[in-house]
């Protein structure tokens, strides 16, 4: 009876851990699909789109996750095929430096102007 109980507990533990890993890969899959644009229904993510292109991409992403591919490598694969536009959040590279750094520069510039104005006011 004791052995049977242990067996049941072990079975439950292994099943739950499997469920957790499935859930994890589903979360990752959805995250990636929401960050990929559909080239047919432009303006929609692959996650939301029902086009044939989107369904093919869903299959590819699923396959790559099951093969153990990392999120970045999946994006790199798709960018290599379709260009930077395919992802909503483009990676930092020579084409996107301005996109990523301009808000930071503007923020710093704005901050510097405010600091200068306050200093002037105090004087």
């Amino acid at each position: 009876m004791k052995i049977f109980r242990i067996f049941i507990i072990l079975l439950l533990i292994t099943n739950f851990s499997e469920l957790k890993s499935d859930e994890k890969s589903d979360i990752l899959k959805n995250k990636i699909l929401k960050n990929i644009r559909c080239l047919i229904c432009q303006g929609q993510s692959v996650y939301d789109s029902e086009s044939e292109f989107a369904s093919s991409i869903k299959l590819i992403v699923d396959k790559k996750i099951n093969e153990g591919a990392k999120e970045d490598s999946i994006y790199s694969f798709l960018i290599e095929k379709y260009g930077d536009w395919i992802v909503y959040e483009p990676q930092l590279n020579k084409n996107t430096y301005i996109l990523w750094l301009l808000p930071l520069l503007l923020f710093l510039l704005g901050g510097a102007i405010i600091v200068k104005k306050i200093q002037k006011k105090n004087e």
Partner: protein, 173 residues
């Protein structure tokens, strides 16, 4: 002096914004991936349409010649339009045509080939569209020109026309 600098900076910023927006007006509002590319062909395994055997990309592109990969389907109307041009390209001996039958049923695809002719030296089955993604395709029809170094050198999105055929002929000369 300070006023002049402010006016000058405002003018420059406004002109910059105007140029950006004006250029944006002339750009198409749909994104199309680049068509002039130089990429290695993907490495893949696919099922042959007639023999049903699995073949590798190395076997498919083994000859020292130009290849054209054409993505087609029997349900695709523009594919019917471009088909006579593919038949015309098949007469050229310095290029081999590979067909990628995209999300199609075997019977319908076979009927299509029987009716309009078979320009392909080999047809591969792409049942779920994932093979097309390996080539960087996002619809049907799409055509890829591959050089002797096994690099994709040109991509035609949509049905090819006589102008595209002439361009291909010029490139494979």
């Amino acid at each position: 002096m300070k006023k002049n600098i402010t006016i000058l900076i405002t003018g420059v910023v406004l002109s910059f914004c105007f140029i950006i927006l004006y250029k944006g007006l002339n750009n198409p509002n749909t994104y199309v991936p680049k068509t002039s590319i130089k990429k290695d062909i993907p490495i893949f395994n696919a099922v042959d349409f007639f023999s049903r055997k699995t073949v590798s990309s190395d076997e498919i592109f083994k000859d020292n010649t130009y290849y054209i990969v054409n993505i087609w389907a029997s349900w695709c109307v523009p594919c019917r339009v471009e088909h006579p041009l593919l038949m015309q390209l098949n007469e050229n001996h310095s290029v081999k045509l590979i067909g990628l039958n995209y999300r199609d049923s075997f019977n319908n695809a076979k009927k299509f080939i029987d009716e309009f002719g078979n320009p392909y030296s080999r047809i591969l089955i792409d049942k779920d569209g994932t093979l097309g993604v390996e080539f960087g395709a996002f619809g049907v029809p799409e055509t890829f020109l591959i050089d002797r170094n096994k690099k994709i050198i040109k991509k035609f999105i949509g049905p090819i026309d006589q102008e595209a055929v002439n361009k291909i002929k010029l490139m494979i000369k």
